[in-house]
Symmetry: C2
Subunit: 409 residues, 2 copies
C-alpha cells in the first residue's frame, strides 16, 4: 500500500464537537476486512419510527450494497433501522458473489438487531474486484450490538476512512417552532483510489420528526446543491452513498415548510462536502467556482464543472498562476452556450478579463499575490442570462500523481 | 517560460521522408512574434485550381482566425490559395483587436501573393489574450514569397511548433487508377498549454484532383476517426484547425469511390494524430483504448473517451498498474449503457475481468509485466450490442504537472 499519505494541508484543526442525536447509537470494531490495527466496521442503529432518505451514485457499475440500499430507501416502517459499513473492501465488481455477500451481512445484522432485513442498510468501501470476507463482519455483530453508544460518532467517522487523511464530521442545532432540533453527520472520501476506491460515504442523523417523503425530497434537493457540486478528479465512484436518518426522538415535527431545518441540513451537507474536497488527493488549494449570467442554471453548472474538472485549470491553480486563459478554454469546451465578447472573469475580487479580452486594469502582480492563498474563488459572468451555479474543487498537484501512480506497489 | 521540455520518450526516431506534393511550396522565417532564435511563421502556397477542405474546433470561444477559416472553407475557386501560420501568439480571446489582426494579415498576404482574400487561410498558436503583433508578420511577407520552395516541409513543421518536443510529419503515395498520387502533411500539438495554448494545427496536401465537396466529406468523415479520437488531457483548444488542400497537379482525379486515396489520407491523418498523442505533455505511454459490444458506436465512443480521459486510469498507466477497477469505474461514470455482469476487460492479450468479476485465470504478475511496455492496449467488451470505437491517449505523469504548474514563472 506504500507510504502513508500525509495529512491534507486543508484539513480542519480538529474533529468538531457534534450535538448528540437522541435515538442514534454507534459502535465500531476491528474486523480485519483488510486493514489491521484500526477499526474498520461501523454500526449505527436508529430507534423505532426513524425515517430514512438516501441518494446514491448514478454509476452504471454501482456496487451490490448500493443497489440494495436504493431498493430499501423510500420504504415506510415503524421499526428501527441500522447502517452497517465496512472499510477496506468495496464489494464492487464482484458479480453474483457481491450480491450474496450483501445478503449474508444484512440477514445476520437483521437477526442480531431483531430488525427486518428491509431496515438494514450497508455500505462497503475499499478494494474492488475482491470477494468481501463477509464472515469477518458478521462474527463481530454481537460485539458491536453490545457496545452501542450515543457518544462515539467520532469513532464511527474514523472507522469508515480508507485513504482519507482526517475524519469528517459536521453538526448543528436549529430551532423549529422555537424548539431545538439537532443534526449531526459524518463522511468519508478523498477522491477515488483503486485498489482503495476512496468513494464518498455520508451518514447524517437528526432527532427531528420528519415524514419519509418530506425527508427524501429535502435530501434530493440539497444533494444537488452540495455533494453533487464537488469534484476532485471528475471520476465517479461505484459506491457513493448518502443516507439521512431522522429518529423523531425530539418530538419536534419538521415539514416541507421548515426553512430553518432545511437550512441547517444544507449547512451540514455542505460542510461535509467541502471537507471531502479539502481531503482531495494531493490538494493544496480549496477553490470555489461560481458562474453567473448563463442562459440557465443547467448551463451555468455545465460551465462551472468544466472549469472545476479541467486538468489545465487545476494545474494552473497548483502553480499559483492566475491563468484566466485556461478558464476561457474550459468555458469554450463545455458545450454550453457562451459568447466570448460578453465574458468576464474574476480571481477573487480581481477582474482579470472583461468583454472578451484581458481587463484593461489587470495587474498581474496583484493576481499572482492572490493565487498564493489557500482558499480561492474563480467567478465567471457569461453576460447571457440569469443562470447561476457554484461548485467546489481542489488543485491538481504532484501529490495526486504520487497517490495514484507512484505509491502503489 | 521555464526550463526546456525534454524530448518525448515516445517521439519517432526522425522526421519522415515525405513525398513532394506538386503545386505546394513552403517558406518560413523568424518574425519574432514571441519566440527568438527560431522560425515562427510558415507560409504554404497552393497552385491555382486547388481545392480546400477543413475541420475546426467546436469551442464556443474559438479564435478569430478559426472563425475566418471556417467562413472561407467550402468556397469554390479557380485561384491559388495560401496558408499562413504564426506560432508564439494565438490571437485568441483578443476581442475586436483579434478580428482586425486577422483582417490585416489576410489583406497583406492577399496583396503579396496576388490572391483574393477569400483564399488566404491563417492560424495562430501560442499565448492567448495578448494582441497579435501583426506587423511583425506582414513585414516578412515579401521575404516569405521570395523564398517559397517545394522542399521545405520539415522547416514548415518546425516553424509551427510551440511546446511540441518534435516536429510532426506524415506522408504516403497511393495509386488511383494505377497512377501515383501523393499525400503529405504536418501537425503540431502536445496538449494545451497557456500561455502557450499548444493547440492542434494540421495541414495536409495532395496532388490529386479532388472536387471540394468530395474532399470536404472525406476530411469530415476521417476526422471523426482520427483527430477526434485522441485526447491528452480532455481539454479543448480555442484554435484547433485541420486544413487539407488538393492541388490537382498530378492530373489524377479522385472521386468519392476512390477507396485507395481515402485509405491513404486516413493513414496520414491517423499517423499525425498519433504523433500528437506521442508528444502529449509528460507522456511516457501510448495507449489504444478499444471498446466493442456497445449498444451503438456512439455509446462505444462515450465509454472509450471516459476511460481515455479518466485521471485515475491515466495515473494507473503511469504507475504501470493493471488497474482494471479504474476502467470499470470509468465505464460506470460515462453515462452510456453498461451492464456490470456482461463486461470483459483486456490489457493487451490478458483478460483481466470477465462477466462482472476478475477473470478466474487472471495472473497479476503477467499483467504487471505487460504494463511495463511503452505501447499499451486496453480493450473493453460490453456484451450488449455491435457498437465499437477506438481512441488513443497517453498516461498522466509528474511531467504533465511539471509542464503545466511548475515550469511557468
Amino acid at each position: 500500500m506504500g507510504a502513508p499519505i500525509p495529512l491534507s494541508p486543508l484539513a480542519p484543526g480538529a474533529f468538531p464537537d457534534l450535538p448528540a442525536i437522541a435515538g442514534v447509537r454507534y459502535a465500531t470494531t476491528q474486523a480485519g476486512v483488510r486493514y489491521t490495527g484500526r477499526d474498520d466496521v461501523m454500526l449505527a442503529v436508529l430507534s423505532p419510527g426513524s425515517t430514512i432518505a438516501g441518494a446514491y451514485t448514478r454509476s452504471a457499475t454501482r456496487s451490490a450494497a448500493v443497489l440494495d440500499c436504493q431498493e430499501k430507501t423510500g420504504h415506510i416502517s415503524d421499526q428501527g433501522a441500522a447502517i452497517l459499513v465496512n472499510s477496506g473492501n468495496a464489494n464492487a465488481f464482484t458479480g453474483r458473489h457481491g450480491t450474496d455477500a450483501v445478503k449474508f451481512v444484512t440477514e445476520a445484522a437483521a437477526k442480531a438487531l431483531n430488525l427486518p432485513e428491509s431496515r438494514i442498510f450497508t455500505s462497503s468501501t475499499g478494494v474492488i474486484g475482491e470477494p468481501l470476507p463477509h464472515d469477518k463482519i458478521t462474527t463481530k455483530l454481537d460485539e458491536l450490538v453490545v457496545n452501542l453508544s450515543a457518544d462515539t460518532i467520532k469513532d464511527a467517522a474514523q472507522a469508515i476512512m480508507t485513504t482519507d487523511t482526517f475524519p469528517k464530521g459536521s453538526g448543528t442545532t436549529v430551532h423549529v417552532d422555537g424548539q431545538p432540533v439537532h443534526i449531526a453527520g459524518i463522511a468519508k472520501g478523498s477522491g477515488m483510489i483503486a485498489p482503495d476506491m476512496a468513494t464518498m460515504l455520508v451518514y447524517i442523523f437528526t432527532d427531528a420528526v420528519v415524514n419519509q417523503t418530506v425527508l427524501q425530497s429535502m435530501v434530493s434537493a440539497l444533494n444537488n446543491k452540495t455533494f453533487n457540486c464537488i469534484t476532485v478528479d471528475s471520476d465517479t465512484s461505484t459506491s457513493d452513498t448518502l443516507i439521512v436518518g431522522a429518529t423523531g426522538a425530539s418530538g419536534i415535527r419538521v415539514t416541507e415548510n421548515s426553512v430553518g431545518f432545511m437550512e441547517g441540513l444544507r449547512q451540514v451537507m455542505l460542510d461535509l462536502a467541502h471537507q471531502v474536497v479539502r481531503d482531495g488527493e494531493g490538494a493544496t488549494k480549496f477553490v470555489e467556482i461560481s458562474v453567473t449570467g448563463a442562459s440557465s442554471d443547467t448551463d451555468a453548472r455545465t460551465h462551472a464543472m468544466a472549469i472545476a474538472n479541467s486538468p489545465l485549470v487545476k494545474t494552473a491553480i497548483a502553480g499559483e498562476d492566475a491563468n484566466w486563459g485556461r478558464v476561457v478554454m474550459a468555458i469554450g469546451k463545455s458545450g454550453a452556450p457562451a459568447d466570448r465578447d460578453t465574458l468576464s472573469i474574476w480571481f477573487g475580487d480581481i477582474r482579470v478579463a472583461h468583454e472578451g479580452w484581458v481587463d484593461p486594469s489587470y495587474n498581474e502582480a496583484a493576481a499572482a499575490a492572490y493565487m498564493k492563498q489557500q482558499e480561492l474563488t474563480i467567478h465567471v459572468d457569461l453576460g447571457l442570462g440569469g443562470g447561476t451555479a457554484v461548485v467546489w474543487t481542489c488543485d491538481l498537484t504532484h501529490g495526486y500523481i504520487d497517490i495514484n501512480a507512484d505509491y502503489r506497489s
